[in-house]
């Protein structure tokens, strides 16, 4: 027997969990101050997340999927993507969307059960939040195909979870991306759980990154709790895609520090000890420790930022609360470019129903 092919999976990390440098830093991190916007964004994300959970608890929004623990991934990607690239998020990427200019009150609208949560005027090409797992992956291949067809130096970046890598859509899309050498980047947020199902039960594969090998595309594992590593790896992948050198699959290792959503209770299936251990890896403290060590950040800065974040969050909550409730006619709006005339009777019926209900309440 001879060896037909061999492969290896690289892992990128620059900061260890305590924030100490584990490898020579990439050039964008030479001046620690250059990373302050990313750090600020991460702190904003966490503040907004905490508020959203509190709002779900008090019934101001519905079920909400927390972003706790993935702030470095969102900030790193947000820092690297160009405005005219296309983001194809799952339901957990409100952080990246914020960095793409989308006002975070949209996130509250989305989880508040309002279609206007998917209106992104500030980043009009990005795809909406995506709930049916992995179904955004083929869209990304299509978006990338369109870019390639028009010879545009743009990139489609699709996000999904570890669970999503078990879906046919995921495999089909990365396979197609390889076959056509599409300008596509897939970031798998491996937060170790798909609701209650741990990563090891999802697949016998040693890494999720290696699924790319079967698809014939580049891949890499990256420490998803290390902002510098994420920025570096995503930056390189996006650059490859943009310059016609093909797609990449990145597996970002992190941990879901929250319940799956506010409808979930993770204590049913994972231990308090495991969670406690994972808090030692979390991305914000890690980056802050490094910034401190570099002399780029002080406790006073932190206090000011915390205050700023609270103010910003409050503004977003207000923007959400100030959004007038959707009218029933919204169900028929944007259903087609022009509502077919055959719908008129249903619209009339709805109006009639509303009038009847108003009478009912008055009577």
């Amino acid at each position: 027997m001879t060896v037909a092919a061999t492969f290896e999976i690289r892992f990128t990390r620059y900061l260890d969990p305590t924030g100490r440098e584990a490898a020579p830093l990439p050039s964008f991190a030479a001046d620690a101050r250059a990373l302050l916007p990313d750090y600020r964004a991460m702190v904003f994300m966490r503040a907004l997340d905490a508020k959203a959970i509190a709002m779900q608890r008090t019934g101001q929004i519905g079920t909400y999927a927390s972003t706790l623990g993935k702030e470095a991934i969102d900030a790193g990607i947000g820092a690297v993507l160009a405005p005219n690239d296309v983001l194809l998020p799952s339901y957990r990427e409100s952080g990246i969307l914020m960095l793409r200019g989308v006002s975070p009150h949209r996130t509250l609208l989305y989880w508040g059960g309002d279609e206007r949560g998917n209106v992104f005027p500030e980043s009009p090409h990005d795809f909406p939040f995506n709930v049916p797992i992995a179904s955004q992956m083929p869209h990304a291949a299509g978006v990338a195909y369109a870019m390639k067809l028009r010879r545009e130096p743009r990139v489609a970046l699709a996000m999904c979870g570890d669970g999503a890598t078990s879906k046919g859509d995921f495999y089909e899309a990365i396979n197609a991306a390889g076959a056509w050498k599409l300008p596509m980047v897939v970031v798998v947020v491996n937060n170790q759980y798909a609701i209650s199902v741990p990563r090891r039960m999802q697949s016998a594969a040693q890494t999720l990154a290696q699924k790319a090998i079967a698809a014939g595309i580049a891949c890499e594992q990256v420490d998803g709790n290390d902002l510098i590593a994420v920025r570096d790896a995503v930056g390189r992948a996006v650059e490859l895609a943009r310059t016609g050198r093909g797609p990449t699959l990145l597996e970002a290792l992190t941990y879901r520090l929250s319940d799956h959503t506010t409808a979930d209770d993770a204590t049913r299936y994972r231990s308090a000890d495991e969670l406690k251990e994972q808090w030692k890896e979390e991305p914000i403290l890690r980056l802050r420790s490094w910034l401190h060590a570099k002399g780029a950040w002080s406790p006073t800065d932190e206090q000011a930022l915390a205050k700023d974040a609270q103010m910003h969050v409050q503004k977003m909550v207000q923007a959400y609360l100030d959004t007038p409730p959707p009218g029933s006619e919204q169900m028929f709006e944007h259903l087609y470019a022009r509502l077919p005339r055959q719908y008129q009777s249903q619209v009339a019926e709805l109006t009639q129903q509303e009038e009847r209900d108003v009478e009912h309440h008055a009577g």
Partner: protein, 326 residues
Amino acid sequence: MSSITLVEAVNLALSRAMEDDDRVVVLGEDVGINGGVFRATAGLQQRFGAERVADTPLAEGLIAGMAVGMAAEGLRPVAEIQFAGFAYTAIDQILNHAGRLRHRTQGRLSCPMVLRTPCGAGIHAPEHHSESPEAMFAHIPGIRVVYPSSPAKAYGLLLASIADPDPVVFLEPSRLYRRFKEEVEDDGEPLPVDQAFIAREGTDVTLVAWGAMLYESLKAADELAGDGHFAEVIDLATLKPIDYDTVLESVKKTGRCVVVSEAPRTASLASEISANISERALLSLLAPVERVTAWDTVTPMFRLEERYMPNAARIVGAARKVLEYQ
């Protein structure tokens, strides 16, 4: 005998079936240690082990397709799709395989599987979690579609579905999962999967409904009774094949009918039922059959779901229309 909710009744039926028949296995996402996102499979893995209550990788096509294979090989799989909105990739397996394996092999192989999934709106769930795809399933030859409306019905119909020699899609109205409790005896007794139930007798108009819409229809019947109109309310329970004997007998008695469905109107089961009544009871009808359905729109996110689902007031309006028809 104990008083339990619909979701507890599903759990009870699953336990009973697993206890009585080693061939019964449960598979799906988060059905194991987590007991299902609605707790329908709570405690089953602890009791029957991880081989018979298996958490699957996240893949609905896999779940439905594996159930086909398991069933053909002599197991009695009960597969869970976490929400009906995620069953669409499973439909390929149900349509191309589950429903036709027996026919394609001329009886050599069969597919005694159950695909359970919560469906319907009304629980303030996120996007894609409130779908009503019953008509899509009912369109598939070779399968049964069952839709319980109460704890006792869920228990008996699920046992019957598991025992049935053919594939059954078992749709569970999530809105009723915890809405009320009912006495359910864990006696292993199935209910028929080819029969509708008369939920309330009446003489003036027939209301046909299933799942959560049954309760809107019963509410409507109460209101109509206040005006001296007595509605007969039918709980269809099995949506494929439909027990037209019961429906037609009622319509022949009342001469008027309103069909209520939470799914969009076009190509719906409400249309199907209405067509059958028109064909088979035209001369008994005193008014055209009315359909009260959801709109032909995307299931809206929850802020508008109350405006999307039919309610008692709309049913009363349609009933009055057929009652007043000249």
